[in-house]
Amino acid sequence: MKSSNLINFQRLKRLPSGLVKQLALILLSLLTLFPLYFMITNSFKVQDEFFNNLLGLPQNPILGNFTKILQHPNLGRWFFNSILLTTGSVMVSTIIAILAAYAFALMRFPGRDTLFNLITPLMVIPPIVMVIPMFVLFRQLRLVNNPGGPLIIYSGLMLPFTIYLLRNFFVTIPKEIQDAALIDGCTEFQVLTKIYLPLSRPALVTSIIVNAVWVWNELLIALVFLQTEELRTLIVGITTSLQKRFTLDVPSLMAGLAVATIPMIILYIIGQNALVRGLVAGHDK
């Protein structure tokens, strides 16, 4: 009795051994990947197979669910809307943030640090808080059911994070570069576009990827401000129309979700490192 307790205690002290560690990580990976596996395998199954073979690989993989989804009258339009809104708002926001970040990092003016410190905490304001006032205002300005509405809101909501990230990158570039260029007769704008932007590529890539993922996946604002079927984004279209329409045709719904997810998976594969670097920026010390 006593000796077996002792053995257990020693075993506990050695835990987790290599095997246990490996098992823990495998379990985590399986749990992480399972929803993706479920979505993708089931999108290749016929209805009957979905009910009889929930977990396994498709016995007779078919592309029919994808053709059915791609024939949906609005899917192409939703996809196009999402692409347009994502690229448009990320572009507008990035350009505006670059200008502001440059001023915060390299120009001297009264109230600079106070202003910067006021902007960064805005990141935590819940989006639902902005939705009511913006909805009332934008209805008057005819910006509801108009892609311009969410474009303005997204561009604004992304600013605090983007300004914060870029400003903190700009200050790491030696200031002598700016001084030298100004003495050589460059204007501030030339210093920014010809020197700082090329040097800031990593930070720009990070902020663009983080922001693009966010806009592409956003639900609340797109739902409230784009209410007509043709104006919806892909994510809203999938969650409102497709979820209702294909409740009984799960494989087709899964195919729709897969279509909406593919661009983000591609972006992740390309920009994984930049994404991770940006999100943990400043927290590795």
Partner: protein
Amino acid sequence: MHRSFQSKYTPYLYLSPALILITLVFVYPVFDLIRRSLTKLVDGATTWTGLIAYQNALRDPIFWTSFSNNLRLLISIPILVVLSLIFSSLIFERTGGWRYYRSLIFIPYVLAIPVVGIVFSYILQANGVFNQILRSIGLDSLAREWLGTSATAIWAIMFVVIWKELGFGIVLFLARMSSISEELYDAAKLDGAGWWQQMVYVTIPQMTTVIEFYIIINMITMLSWVFSYVLVMTKGGPGNSTWVLEYFIYQKAFPYSQMQIASAAAVMLLIFAFLLMFMQARLRHQGEGVEG
């Protein structure tokens, strides 16, 4: 010295687009919301109503259901912290295949909440995969419609939130761990410290700042970024059992057109968010002070 190259107004020229947009999207809504929560339109004239809308919101039992669900979701935070610590350590120790694990665990971050929510709602339904697994290991009595039962729905949502948020914690902690001095671990090992002891006496004390940051970020998430999960997985149901504050505000504002109550609830949510933000700013300040 470069001041001569720069007119007094240049900085403001560079800042103005950002300041205009921030004023429109952040500053104006906050003030408008406060005004809306305190006044009412009667025959086209704005009438001061004081705190009536707040009282109405606070008297609404669903407001309290919603708020208590936000509080329930906070329970995910200790779970997230512990899991992030364990898994970031395992990856940090270069357990076989760590590179592969490191890139896998962050995938949930790029997936849309609605996509994740729909997939999980099929996994968790009565005849879904999860219940099939439970039945196959003899736990038939546990099998249920996880999102369709009042008692379990909010916990099922919490599970999905954890699934989505865990990767960020692991990656964040991993970044911090790589700057902990090796010597500390060597010293601990010399003293005979096992894996858990190294975790408790070396890793955790070295990581307090980043753990606090992660806790506060998650408090903000559980309070004000869970709308999409609820909308997609349960629409607040069954009954009102999975309403959260954001969902309360959304429902009052849009389907019910009770803008004043919605505004009052939104102001209260904003106050919570600001309190948390204030805590975060203080922690960051302390952290910077300590780290020099």
